[in-house]
Amino acid sequence: MDFIHFFFSYPFYYLLLVWGGVVLNRTNIVVVLMSLELALLSVSLNFIIFSVCLADLIGQIFAIFILIVAACESSIGLAIILVYFRVRGSIRIDQASLLKS
């Protein structure tokens, strides 16, 4: 395995981490948001690696867009969490099951 391939595996491990953070985490919704940030980071990392490997600039432009989108998303997400906390007084995920079956 050469050097560049070693970098390829990183985004995948990030992604596994994200799945763990999203699926296994049952209490804190901010952690979920953080995991999503991680996921977007891993994606943009992937883009950058590919852009370097394939010598194509579009990947890096995409990564910048993803950064912007991630910033927007996390700000909106945090706003939603804030509103939710005002209503419910809690941000636990396992208490947010009003819409069951």
């Binding site: 699926v23 985490n25 979920v32 995920i93 396992d94 819409l99 069951k100 079956s101």
Partner: protein
């Protein structure tokens, strides 16, 4: 003219049926009687043209069904056989129409009644004038339907309803056989019109068919299936049980059903199919045996019936047995001759019985009559004429046909023919016995009815008297006049309408029988009549002791319970079929299979599974995410590898996951 013969009764029926309430009783009766009477006069003209002048007529109206080689037309064929039937049907029908105007005068539904009667006549005319089996089947079912409507005319009576349903269903059993017969004919001949089928019948003598895994001659099979139809319609042994129950309808209906229409259709069918039956010797043998047994069975049963109309009903059954075994012995012309004669004197008997019933306040039990000779002299005379004609007393109508039937039966010289001959002779004895018994119980013995009824008993009015008087004339003379025309040696009246293989011909042999055998049935008749007269005239008090003796009681029960046919049918056939219908088809299939496995079961299963799959929607974000992640993963794998057979596996996987939840 020929089309008018068929369609005038329909016109009368429609007018009085749909517009009866506007026309009123008088108007609708006038119209139907006029239509049917006109039909009768046209029938007489057609009898002259076709029968006497020998110009058979064939009319093709239009194509009815046309599908590949199956070709059915609305077509009418008027040959000698048809015109004889036309005369019989329209004459009796006209008289019955006139008779019912007075007989049913107090009934509020007279327009409906005459409408049904006319419809009945129409369907019977369709039946006899049809040119192919399918059109004949229209008439066949039509008379069945009309018999249902007429037997059920007083539809508020439960007995009438039951009798009508029985008539309809038992007839339908026969119709099933007839329909199978027509299918078989089409299978063998590729055509259903008489001309083609009869022309090709000789070609199929060696053809065999496999029916219910039994290998039969094609013509034998067709003959037997057609005969099953005739058994239902003509009330032969086995499917005869509907006929006595059909007495629940008004008396003119019984006259029409028993004399001219309905039951004669079976014999007509056998006569019409003579070119087909002649080549199926097995079927002929069956027909003659069943006919002989019917004649004997019905005659013995009639011996002990107490209902006035039932006695006559069984005598119809018995006389039809004569006709059928005459057909079975290839004497079709004799059978049709007897049919025509029988129509006249049976109509006379029924209408006279109606007159009696009318006079004694709708009392039908003969044990409650008696002594009506002085009160109803005209009816008495008419019923004596009818009964003597029925018994085959010399030189009355019945004599000419019945004795020829028995003579030719003896002359045919085969086992079934002699079987039929002896049973028929025994039936002749019984016929005379119960005819005289009927007369004696109604008219001769001392009065047994209530005083009030006897005081008010009087003859019917002009219309009834006119009809009875008019029917008495052919009952006395028609046999003498038409004998040579119908069954005279070498008569060319029938043209090609009846066919008899030369080897089956026994009319000539009958000429050389010994006189003793020829007059034997007559002797039986006279002996039976005389015995009955003596017994009921002079030994009425002893009858009770004979009846209650050990042997007498057994015999009496056996006969009065109609040989236990109804009992056996009810207990072993109807009951089992009803049980089957309730327990198997209703409870197991309808309620069981269809409901628990079919629509209901499926929807129950679906609802249950949906209830269970609601667990998936727990409301927890992480549950949704697990599904989301696994789904993503799965679809990624699917698109990466894309096994075609994987889809089925995936589907199964999903289903099992879903069901095991």
């Amino acid at each position: 003219m020929y089309l008018n013969i068929v369609f005038l009764p329909l016109l009368g029926s429609i007018v009085s049926g749909f517009f009866g309430r506007f026309l009123g009783v008088y108007g609708s009766c006038l119209i139907t009687v006029f239509c049917v009477g006109l039909t009768f006069s046209l029938s007489c003209l057609s009898f002259y043209e076709v029968g006497l002048a020998g110009s058979s007529t064939y009319l093709s109206l239009m194509t009815w069904l046309e599908s590949d080689s199956f070709h059915v037309e609305w077509a009418f064929c008027f040959d000698s056989l048809t015109v004889v039937m036309l005369i019989v049907v329209t004459f009796i029908s006209t008289l019955v129409h006139i008779y019912s105007i007075e007989y049913m005068a107090e009934d509020p539904h007279l327009p409906r009644f005459v409408s049904y009667l006319s419809l009945f006549t129409f369907f019977m005319l369709i039946l006899v004038t049809a040119d192919n089996f399918v059109q004949m089947f229209v008439g066949w079912e039509g008379v069945g339907l009309c018999s249902y409507l007429l037997i059920n005319f007083w539809f508020t009576r439960i007995q009438a309803n039951k009798a009508a349903i029985k008539a309809m269903i038992v007839n339908r059993i026969g119709d099933f056989g007839l329909a199978l017969g027509i299918f078989t004919i089409f299978m063998c001949f590729g055509a259903v019109d008489y001309a083609t089928v009869f022309a090709f019948a000789p070609q199929l003598t060696s053809c065999t068919l496999s029916f219910l895994n039994i290998k039969l001659g094609a013509l034998d099979l067709i003959g037997v299936l057609l005969f099953i139809g005739a058994v239902g319609k003509s009330a032969q042994l086995g499917l005869h049980t509907w006929l006595p129950d059909a007495m629940e309808g008004p008396t003119p209906v019984s006259a029409l059903i028993h004399a001219a229409t309905m039951v004669t259709a079976g014999v007509f069918l056998l006569a019409r199919c003579s070119p087909l039956l002649e080549y199926g010797s097995g079927a002929l043998m069956l027909i003659s045996v069943v006919g002989g047994m019917t004649a004997f069975f019905a005659a013995t049963t009639a011996l002990v019936q107490n209902d006035l109309k039932r006695v006559i009903a069984y005598s119809t059954c018995s006389q039809l047995g004569y006709m059928v075994f005459a057909c079975g012995l290839s004497n079709y012309s004799v059978a049709v001759f007897h049919l025509a004669n029988h129509a006249f004197f049976k109509a006379l008997l029924f209408l006279s019985a109606g007159s009696v019933i009318h006079a004694v306040g709708d009392e039908q039990d003969m044990r409650k009559m008696g002594g009506l000779r002085r009160l109803l002299p005209f009816t008495y005379a008419m019923i004596v004429v009818g009964s003597l004609a029925l018994m085959g007393m010399p030189f009355l109508t019945g004599f000419y046909s019945k004795d020829v039937i028995l003579e030719t039966a003896y002359a045919a010289y085969s086992v079934p023919s002699h079987f039929s001959y002896w049973l028929g002779s025994a039936a002749a004895f019984c016929t005379a016995f119960y005819s005289i018994r009927l007369i004696a119980l109604c008219f001769l013995v001392e009065p047994n009815g209530s005083r009030k009824l006897l005081l008010s008993a009087s003859e019917g009015g002009k219309a009834m008297g006119f009809v009875l008087g008019l029917l008495a004339i052919p009952s006395i003379f028609i046999g003498y006049f038409s004998r040579d025309l119908f069954i005279g040696l070498g008569t060319d009246f029938w043209g090609g309408s009846l066919f008899c293989l030369p080897s089956n011909l026994s009319l000539i042999d009958a000429e050389f029988m010994s006189t003793f055998l020829k007059i034997l049935p007559l002797c039986f008749s006279i002996a039976g009549g005389g015995l009955s007269f003596i017994v009921y005239r002079y030994y009425t008090h002893n009858i009770y002791f004979w009846k209650t003796s050990i042997v007498g009681r057994k015999v009496y029960t056996f006969l009065s319970r109609k040989w236990f046919f109804d009992k056996i049918y009810n207990e072993f056939v109807s009951q089992n079929i009803l049980d089957f219908g309730y327990h198997f088809t209703y409870k197991s299939i309808d309620r069981g299979l269809v409901e628990s496995l079919g629509p209901f079961g499926l929807s129950n299963l679906l609802i249950g599974q949906v209830q269970q799959s609601r667990v998936w929607h727990s409301g927890y974000l992480y549950h949704y995410l697990v599904v989301f992640v696994w789904g993503n993963l799965f679809f990624c794998l699917w698109f990466l590898f894309g096994f075609p057979s994987l889809r089925v596996g995936v589907l199964l996987l999903f289903c099992t996951l879903w069901l095991t939840l």
